[in-house]
């Protein structure tokens, strides 16, 4: 497994898309951070960039990469390697490459301009989202035989989590505003990793108070460590679940 990860990484660090991704993130971060004098605002702007770019680029790049290397995967699977090992190694390599790009693009500017818990949380959140959306790409890869369909699915998944889900959530809030929906809301939020990533960072910023403004439950949730712990646990689940599912499906998949 280590061998495969190592060599696939060697390929990925030279990958143009990865390099461009890191550069674009870096440019955006530097411009945002040098523009905002207020650190909390800078983090918020970076958060918005992260929430938009990381899921879409992460899932698209991973899906395309998995499908493109299918012949190589076959070649490697003709070697005495377990399928699970192969799949995990590919996932780890791709996710790690994307993570490195994120750390270079966002982490370094943050470290230069200001550090602190909120900045660190933003980094963690971005890395979580990278891991989650490459895991979802893995799931798409094992579910679809056709690359075009896979890419289509990846776009839909990315759009769903970055935009559609919140839209549905908002209409849910709208239709049930008469009822005590705070608890179901917290439950629903955990169904969207992008929202989880957002809340994880907001919790470290003083703007979290503004969310607490809306009700006792949010206040409790936002105000204590429970919120952060809950969010992190949900996000870990969001990484593990797609991977386990993928490994199971991949065991029976015809290549």
């Amino acid at each position: 497994m280590k061998t495969i990860v190592k060599y696939v990484m060697l390929d990925l660090v030279k990958n143009k898309t990865i390099i461009v991704y890191a550069i674009i993130l870096g440019l955006l971060s530097v411009s945002v951070l040098s523009m905002d004098s207020n650190s909390s605002k800078g983090i918020l702007s970076l958060l918005n960039i992260t929430l938009l770019f990381v899921p879409i680029i992460g899932i698209l790049f991973s899906t395309i990469y998995f499908f493109n290397s299918i012949e190589f995967t076959e070649l490697l699977l003709a070697q005495p390697i377990k399928r699970k090992t192969m799949l995990l190694a590919q996932y780890i390599a791709v996710a790690a490459a994307l993570c490195i790009a994120y750390v270079l693009g966002v982490g370094i500017p943050i470290a230069i301009f200001y550090s602190g818990l909120a900045a660190f949380t933003l980094l963690i959140s971005g890395l979580f989202l990278t891991l989650i959306f490459s895991a979802l790409a893995l799931l798409i890869f094992v579910l679809f035989k056709d690359k075009t369909k896979g890419i289509g699915a990846a776009i839909i998944v990315a759009l769903f989590f970055t935009l559609l889900f919140d839209g549905l959530l908002l209409s849910f809030i709208y239709s049930f505003s008469e009822y005590p929906i705070d608890k179901p809301l917290l439950g629903l939020i955990s169904l969207n990793p992008v929202d989880l990533g957002r809340i994880l960072v907001l919790l470290q910023l003083d703007v979290a108070v503004m969310m607490g403004y809306s009700g006792a439950l949010f206040k409790k949730f936002m105000g204590s460590a429970t919120g952060s712990i809950y969010t992190v646990i949900c996000m870990i689940f969001w990484i593990i679940f797609p991977i386990i599912m993928s490994a199971r499906i991949f065991r029976k998949k015809d290549l």
């Binding site: 061998t3 060697l10 290397s69 190589f72 699977l77 005495p80 390697i81 015809d254």
Partner: protein
Amino acid sequence: MISIEHLTKSFSKFIALDDISLKFERGQAISLLGPNGSGKTTLIKSILGLVIPEKGKIEIDGKEIRSSWEYRSQIGYMPQIGRYPENMTVGQVIGMLKEIRRDCKKLDEELIAGLGIPGFLNKTMKSLSGGTRQKVSACLAFLFSPDILILDEPTAGLDPLSSELLKDKIAKERENGKLILITSHVLSDLDGITSDIVYLQDSKLMFYKSVDELKMSTGEQKLNKVIATIMQNQLPKHSNN
């Protein structure tokens, strides 16, 4: 060495392999022939464990391969299309496989030298021509001195010189008592190296006979002629059914 019993596989509605039973032994060089979509590749992939059979079983040296993976250390596989991570160099690809196959004590680097691979070890995969990539695939298939060689269209895209070299190597390995499975469209390329022919059509096994036997029955010497004759004899009979 390889024994296939009642192997059946279908993809959604399309039946790719229909109740195939075959037995291959050491020292055989078997050509898998048949029109496009007849199930050749599916058969190969089933042996490699890349395709999971629906019914029937495949045994190698008496052990069923289902869900096991260790057996693949005995197999060298050369895929029809060799696509590699584009930024990897040839050297890295070979290095990677060597690292994966640390278990293999006896490396066979004859082809690497013969095909001139050391000349472009530092080139990235994306900069290589299709033929050169085929050469790399061929080298990798033979590198770990496997007992079974599965070659999917090995000569397609190779220059005549390399093609000859590869054929010589195949013949040599067969003499060394290895089992070789080849699919190819270029029947002339198979002349002289195949001992047996498996012919698949419409996912069914049409026949599995030795080349000598076929030559006797058809009275032809060239393999393509042999096959053509069989086709002519069989097709009307087939359409009558």
